[in-house]
Amino acid sequence: MSADAGRLADWLELVLARTEAAQAELDGLDAVAGDGDHGVTMVLGWRTVVAGLKRGGTPGGLLRTGGGDFASVGGSAGPLWGTALLRAGRALGDAPTVALAGAHAAAEAALAGMCERGRCAEGEKSIVDALAPAVRALADAEALGLSAADALRAAAGAAAAGCDATRLMPALRGRASRFPDRAVGHRDPGAASCVIVWEAAADAFA
């Protein structure tokens, strides 16, 4: 696999469609100890990103403008995903296509950007608990010489497992952190919406 801007756009459209389908579930997870709007915010975020695709550009360019677009929805997800997409786009530069190594580097940059913006780390019951394992899985897959398709499938699996593990965690970031134990037993909504991103990647780039 070596994805061009068209494939990247397909991926983002798939992310949007699946996020829309999962909106109520994400809102419900956020309602446990937050304010019940995480699905709404993610839908709004991916909608502005997809609407911006018509401006065209290289894969890196699409992610950079997409990052600005996503940030414009505000909330917590806006700056976190906005920074992640922006950093990923910067890592890709303006190459016309992206191969696995590039994708891995971009994902590393996204993760670093999100942690910086959110002053967060793994284990705090947040998006990072899905994103970080996915990035590690990409690295492992690259080291093992897997195909891009297999690597993305592995990353999606790792994100889902990471998300599942948030059930046991007390919440240390965001709105839910005022009562860390309130959401124990439930998945973190931000981690859950991150899983959608990776599963869509595995399917779109298969």
């Binding site: 109520a24 809102d27 309602a31 709007d37 709404v40 917590s76 806006g78």
Partner: protein
């Protein structure tokens, strides 16, 4: 949902269109549409004040633009922080060369977006300072006061800051005053019924009729106690007791009292609660400087109210009595 809506995802932009119909002579929108600023800011100020936060708390935050209050405000989506863009745009309009103070509620999303805005403004050469209001005593223990959420008390902090800005304070002085005001402000609320984010379409939380949630956040974040609904007097007793325990009053400092309706509770009930709050404070030998009652910071159609006490020293006493004219909120001073 019992709501008058078109596209629920567009509700904030449609609201802002209506806001400009009503107040377009006084305020204007910034280029992105989500910042609102005074057309003719008060000339006395050296430092501008910008506030903001998620929508759904109307008249907060843009309703507090006006003389003696904020120069501009940024509006986020419902219950979501505004992005950095409208904050930056509002701050640019509010800056008179002396920098801009941000006053907003202490929420993770807002902090990220206002901080990003501050960084971007620094590149423009506009200095900023920030006061994250943290008046909600239910949201963290007193030792971790800095982690507490900002709720209705933010309006009083903004009022004090606005008056100080009108006195010509520098950015540093203004910021210090705002933090001082925040330090002396405590709020505790009670919810009796839920609210529904338009685009979510379902209530954010379940709260059966006949129960109350003490300390629930203004976005429906879970509170500290769930139990059967008790009388207005008993609720007032609990609120006042906990507020005074959290910051014991100094006998000679009068209090500014704010009874804030969250949305669906008729103002009649807020006055019933004020009556009891006043009786309790009088029993304790405490003096009410002024009592404000109304919907100052709402949570969509949540049922319930909050009580805020601001402990007034001489400086705050002077500031909360200064004239102000909010664009669209109940009065804050005589």
């Amino acid at each position: 949902m019992r709501k008058l809506l078109n596209d629920p995802f567009a509700v904030v932009d449609e609201m802002l269109e209506g806001v400009l119909v009503a107040y377009g002579e006084t305020i204007e929108a910034t280029p992105c549409g989500r910042g609102l600023v005074l057309r003719n800011p008060a000339p006395a100020r050296r430092v501008g004040i910008v506030t903001g936060g998620g929508s759904g708390h109307e008249p907060a935050f843009w309703g507090y633009i006006g003389p003696g209050l904020a120069d501009g405000a940024a509006a986020g989506n419902v219950f979501a922080s505004p992005s950095a863009t409208p904050i930056v745009e509002a701050a640019r309009a509010a800056d008179r060369g002396g920098g801009v103070l941000f006053v907003y509620g202490n929420y993770n999303g807002d902090v990220m977006n206002f901080d990003t805005a501050a960084e971007l403004l620094e590149e423009d050469g506009i200095a900023t300072s920030t006061c994250t209001v943290s008046d909600d005593v239910a949201s963290a223990p007193a030792e971790r006061r800095g982690e507490r959420r900002g709720v209705a008390g933010g309006v009083l902090v903004l009022k004090a800051a606005g008056a100080r800005a009108d006195e010509g304070a520098s950015l540093e002085e203004l910021s210090a005053l705002a933090w001082h005001a925040n330090e002396r402000t405590r709020t505790l609320g009670v919810a009796l019924g839920p609210c529904t984010v338009p685009a979510a379409g379902r209530p954010t939380f379940e709260l059966p009729e006949g129960e109350l949630d003490l300390g629930m956040g203004i976005h429906g974040e879970a509170g500290v106690y769930r139990g059967p609904l008790v009388s207005a007097d008993e609720v007032a007793d609990t609120l006042v007791e906990r507020l005074l325990a959290d910051r014991p009053p100094s006998g000679d400092e009068p209090l500014l009292v704010l009874v804030n309706g969250l949305g669906a509770t008729p103002v009649m009930e807020s006055f019933v609660v004020l009556r009891r709050v006043a009786a309790l404070l009088a029993e304790g030998g405490l003096r009410i400087h002024r009592a404000l009652v109304g919907e100052y910071v709402t949570s969509l159609e949540m049922t319930g109210l909050s009580v805020t006490l601001m402990h007034l020293d001489e400086e705050l006493l002077r500031l909360v009595d200064a004239p102000s004219r909010p664009l669209a909120a109940p009065p804050l001073a005589p």
